[in-house]
């Protein structure tokens, strides 16, 4: 299986910690990929506001670039994935649209055939690498760590539909379980984090973030694990605003999925960008250490050591 | 009384029909015994003028094999018509056009270009082409005119009987000869030396159910020699072909190609074969059907291998002197 990797803007900017952890973990898992050459912004949430055609042409260009490589196009950003698959879907189902988009791309001397194979990071980890392999590679089991698996909403409609269930995705739970973590029932796993509203309309965004954090506390999670850079950013950066909105103070570690995987693989936190997390994940470290101690003590007790 | 007069003529055909007569072996002597052979260029030296000299309707039986593709054959068709009581289209070429009839996908110019210029073995720098007449010191040399379209004998002159087959099988020829001798020929216009059923009637293979998911060419698979070839995806013209041959091809694991022509109640053999083949494609999804159909590279050649001139459309329509554009076929797919 050959891959070409599309980081997208956020991962190379505000979500660098995610990017770093993705790179280290995938390298550790032995997944080889090259970065998509000359990739461009997927249009994020704003291109649609400018022009419908643009909002399709931007991702279409990246798809077209990947077609040349004939490799699977992998992205770890849910928004990028959403825009790419959305473009792919609409273009494939509308010949006129395909014509128009290709007319735009022609300016850049490139054409989108519709053969690109788009993959989500989770899809690659779970279905290509495989949960068994992941479990085998665990050197630092997360036993005793209670994690809330937060799937996020914008991936709901499209992403999980590709390799899991739209109604009730479970891939994330299965992955975290493979790491030895204790996945708690997280009622808001598909609720919205406010997306860009946390910046543009904080009054709307903050309470939503608050709800997610409250829910995590209510189910006694040690941390929230996300699969989306923007969710990670929101849940990390706006805990104070959320606290104010809910009349409380939050200090809930929020980790990107590959960050937690890295810890389970015993990779140094720095290589996972954990030092960049706005909310320091120290409680998580402690819990993991404790878990490790407990298990070794147990081992001693049972005299197997 | 004098012996009945027999004439055999060889027009546009491979000569296999002549062999079919020779394959009567010992019986050929009876033929020679029974008949007074007045024309058989393949075997003995006859001159056209001898035939021309004969009074009209003086030949009792004329076995005319081969299609009509040039002016000489047309002349002889008319001549023998005039001289014969019973003119018989002998063999598939005379009956439905046969393999020479496949030339109707092209025309004189295209064929000449191919034959006199293009074939790898040709070296004809001067671009010499056959001339209808050519002056040499000794006098004028002439050649018959090569037509654009191959026609069946019946398309040129009225014909009493048709004996299909490429070539007609020995037993059937014997039977016909016998019938002639005993004066037991059926009403003029009928096909003799064949059955009123189809090749399937002679085929002993086991038939189960006809649902085709993909067609194969004979070399692509090793068919089960006990089961119907069509059911195994190998196109067999047997169901749309008049029987009487005894299905020799099927007995050697090869499909019928349809040389005995259309069954009695069929207007256009190719059209019927096409309809039958399409009907048993086991899919309702246009894309899937398209895929299955694409496994038949040459529909025309498959449906009209032996009968293009006798078919409803008779020949291919050409724009100028080019074969039908490939893209036409492509667009057909696209639609």
């Amino acid at each position: 299986m050959s891959y070409v990797y599309y980081p997208g803007c956020s991962l190379t900017g505000t979500a660098r910690e995610c990017e770093e952890s993705i790179q280290s973990v995938m390298r550790f898992l032995g997944v080889k990929w090259t970065e998509l050459e000359d990739w461009n912004c997927c249009g994020a949430a704003v291109a649609t506001g400018v022009s419908y055609l643009l909002s399709l042409a931007l991702p279409a260009r990246n798809l077209a670039l990947s077609e040349k490589t004939e490799a699977d196009l992998v992205t770890g950003c849910s928004r990028c994935y959403l825009n790419l698959i959305r473009a792919q879907h609409y273009i494939q189902h509308n010949a006129n649209l395909k014509r128009d988009v290709n007319a735009v791309l022609a300016e850049a001397g490139i054409q989108y055939a519709g053969t690109a194979r788009l993959r989500h990071l989770l899809d690659v980890i779970i279905n290509d690498v495989g949960l068994d392999t992941v479990a085998e590679k665990v050197t630092q089991p997360l036993s005793g760590l209670q994690v809330a698996a937060y799937y996020g909403c914008c991936q709901g409609m499209w992403t999980y539909a590709q390799f899991d269930s739209t109604e009730d995705p479970t891939c994330f739970d299965r992955l975290l379980a493979a790491l030895g973590a204790e996945v708690v029932y997280y009622p808001l796993k598909q609720a919205c984090c406010g997306g860009t509203l946390s910046m543009s309309k904080r009054a709307v965004g903050a309470p939503l973030i608050g709800d997610l954090l409250l829910a995590a506390i209510a189910v006694e999670a040690d941390c929230i694990v996300t699969a989306c850079p923007l969710c990670t950013f929101n849940l990390n950066s706006f805990q104070n605003e959320a606290g104010r909105a809910k009349g409380t103070k939050f200090n809930m570690p929020v980790l990107f999925v590959t960050q937690l995987m890295g810890l389970a693989f015993g990779l140094p936190p720095k290589t996972l960008g954990l030092h960049r997390n706005v909310v320091p994940p120290d409680p998580v470290y402690r819990k993991i250490a404790a878990g490790a101690a407990a298990s070794s003590a147990e081992a001693v007790a049972s005299g197997t050591k | 009384m004098s012996k009945p007069k027999l004439a055999l003529y060889w027009a546009a055909s491979c000569g296999g029909c002549e062999i079919a007569v020779v394959r009567l072996y010992a019986k050929i002597l009876d033929v020679a015994e029974i008949f007074d052979i007045v024309l058989w260029p393949c075997i003995m030296d006859f001159k056209y003028k001898d035939v021309e000299a004969l009074p009209d309707k003086s030949i009792d039986l004329c076995l005319f094999n081969g299609a009509i593709r040039n002016s000489e054959q047309e002349y002889m068709a008319h001549l023998l018509r005039a001289k014969s009581k019973a003119l018989v289209a002998f063999g598939t070429c005379a009956y439905t056009g046969g393999i020479p009839g496949l030339a109707n996908v092209a025309n004189r110019e295209i064929i000449f270009r191919r034959v006199y210029d293009e074939t790898p073995s040709t070296s004809n720098a001067e671009g010499v082409r056959p001339q209808l007449s050519y002056q040499v010191p000794e006098g004028e040399l002439t050649l018959p005119k090569f037509y654009d379209t191959v026609r069946t004998l019946a398309q040129v002159v009225p014909v009493e009987y048709f004996i299909p087959g490429c070539p007609p099988v020995k037993e059937q020829v014997e039977a016909v000869i016998q019938a002639v001798v005993e004066g037991k020929l059926p009403a003029p216009g009928s096909v003799v030396g064949a059955s009123d059923k189809t090749v399937c009637d002679n085929c002993t293979r086991i038939r189960e159910e006809k649902r085709i998911r993909s067609f194969y060419r004979p070399w692509e698979i090793i068919p089960d020699s006990s089961r119907c070839l069509l059911e195994q995806g190998i196109i067999c013209a047997g169901p749309a072909t008049r029987g009487g041959c005894g299905a020799p091809c099927l007995s050697v694991n090869m499909p019928c190609r349809g040389c005995y022509g259309p069954p009695p109640n069929v207007t256009d053999q190719g059209g019927k074969l096409l309809s039958a083949l399409a009907s048993i494609i086991d899919s309702q999804d246009p894309a899937e059907i398209e895929r299955v159909v694409d496994a038949i590279p040459d529909v025309l050649g498959t449906c009209y291998l032996f009968g293009l001139p006798a078919s409803l459309l008779g020949r291919v329509r050409l724009e100028g002197n080019a074969l039908p554009a490939r893209e036409a076929v492509e667009t057909a797919k696209a639609l």
Binding site: L188, Q190 | C200, R211, P263, A276
Partner: protein, 665 residues
Amino acid sequence: MAESKNDVRIGVYVCHCGSNIAGTVDVDDLTSFAQQQGSVAVARNYKFMCSEPGQALIKKDIEELGLNRVVVASCSPRMHEPTFRRVCEDANLNPYQLDMCNIREQCSWVHKSGATGKAKALVSAAISRAYYLQPLERREVLVTPAVLVVGGGIAGIQAALKVAEAGHKVYLVEREPSIGGHMIQLDKTFPTLDCSACILTPKMAAVKAHPDIELMTYSEVVDVQGYVGNFRVTIRRKPRYVDESLCTGCGICQEKCPWKADSEFDCGLGQRKAIYTPFPQAVPNVPVIDPEHCVYIQKEGKCGACLKFCERGAIDFTQKEKMVDVEVGAIIVATGYDLMDPSAISRLGYKRFPNVITSMEFERLCNATGPTGGHITIDGKEPKSVAIIHCVGSRDEKYHTYCSRVCCMYALKFAHLIGEKIEGAQVYQFYIDMRCYGKGFEEFYQRASSEAVNFVRGRPAQVTDFAMTPEEKGKLVVVCENTLVGRPVRVPVDMVILCPAMEPRADAKEVARRFNLSQSADGFLLEKHAKLDPVATANDGVFIVGCVQGPKDIPDTVAQGLAGAAEALALIEKGRVELEAATAFVNEAACSGCKICVSLCPYSAITFSETEKLSHINEALCKGCGVCVAACPAGAIVGRHFTDQQILAEVAALLVDTRPATVAV
């Protein structure tokens, strides 16, 4: 052709249709054109051919000029072919010797110029076809005066009773141990709120009591052979292990049986014994033993309590599955619907939260004969607030795009019943649109709205037990956007009732195949015509009634049951049924048994005789579509009234004006 050219005598009749045709087509020119065609004995035109004098004109010519073919150039054959066929018949000319030429709908009405030219082409084509027309005989077969009704729900019950009342034999086949269907599970029925069981049980009893109804419960139709008027049906009778003739329905066996299982009838909310009748008023009131849970059957011979206690000795473990053949003239399929399992939509929490239930479960909870004796409680707790979620799986592209038609109304009914049974209970209706289209529905809606009901317009996103506020603690929270105010709402409740879609039966496909019917896109069985032929099907003599055709409420279902009975009665009362005359037949002299036709017939009318190596067409089953005729590579199958000869002649003549006269085709 039997006749030689000169004794074919064709009469051509051109209709003016007032000015409808004559206004655009030069009818005189057309008539003289027709007159010049070969074999045409006479050509006339008249103001209205379909009028009495017009018909008389044709009749007179047939008799006096000895016409043996008639061509009428007028309106569409779909309009007046029957009329002119009758004219021919009256004049002792076979009605199939008539050919209609459509020069109105497809000529004079649609063309400004060129109409006359086209009319000529059409007429010459009709004449050429007429030349080859053959007399056909209309065949009739006798109808077996008995009806099979499949499914013992209200639709089947209603149909069976009506047919039996008319004095005809009815076989009523029901898969379950008792008839009654879904309706007998319901509590009250909207909008009148009368008790479902109270109105249905008398009918069930009537079925049992009726001498002309042979009731076969715990049985299934496994095979259907034959054709309209003459079906031969094979029915599998599953072993009951109780002798119906001996059992008195005293119930002692059920009392004594120590083994329990979840009650299907109570949607698993209650339990029943291993030997059981689904419910007290079951018809027949004879229990069945469920082999799954009967220890006597599972552990050879252990237990046997029922054996011991049954005084009549009706228990019979030696019973085996039986196959029964019946012959009927008509079949009424009333196999009903399945209720969708909403656990597929996991965000609504069904099966995750015990107090999220389906509408049918609620019916049982509400019902006096139900597991809670009619008290609306879950684990003994009575809900003070209830959310009713509409359109669960209906009007939803992910599941079923159609509307299930009854949910709005029973949701209102639920609200009313809850209000009646639980003092001060709050009920929330989460709806997309309120569809109250039936008689008395709107009034019921008004009434229910005036009671303690809150309407929230929107499709809930989630039902969760996660409390965000103290008052949500320990409750189910329905998360939804109230689309009328454009705000998300969180409604804490004690109980959530889902209104799942009515689905085609899980085995609808097999049923369709067994009765040779087709399914519409939504999976329900397909009627012949959505408006004008609602219970007939493409398979003559087989009718579909009730929810097997699509979601319906009780009144509509009953009406269809009666419609099915009327159709069946019309068939068997007449006693004879006319079969398609323009069928296909195999010319055996030409058939070489290639078998290409066999798999093509949509009516399985073609059978193959391995002994004769020939195909045969059962002309009673043949509908004359001609698919086999076109396919037969030997030209051995002839399609009556649309023979190759007729059509090829028609085509050639249709184009006669397009090619030089010298060109023969």
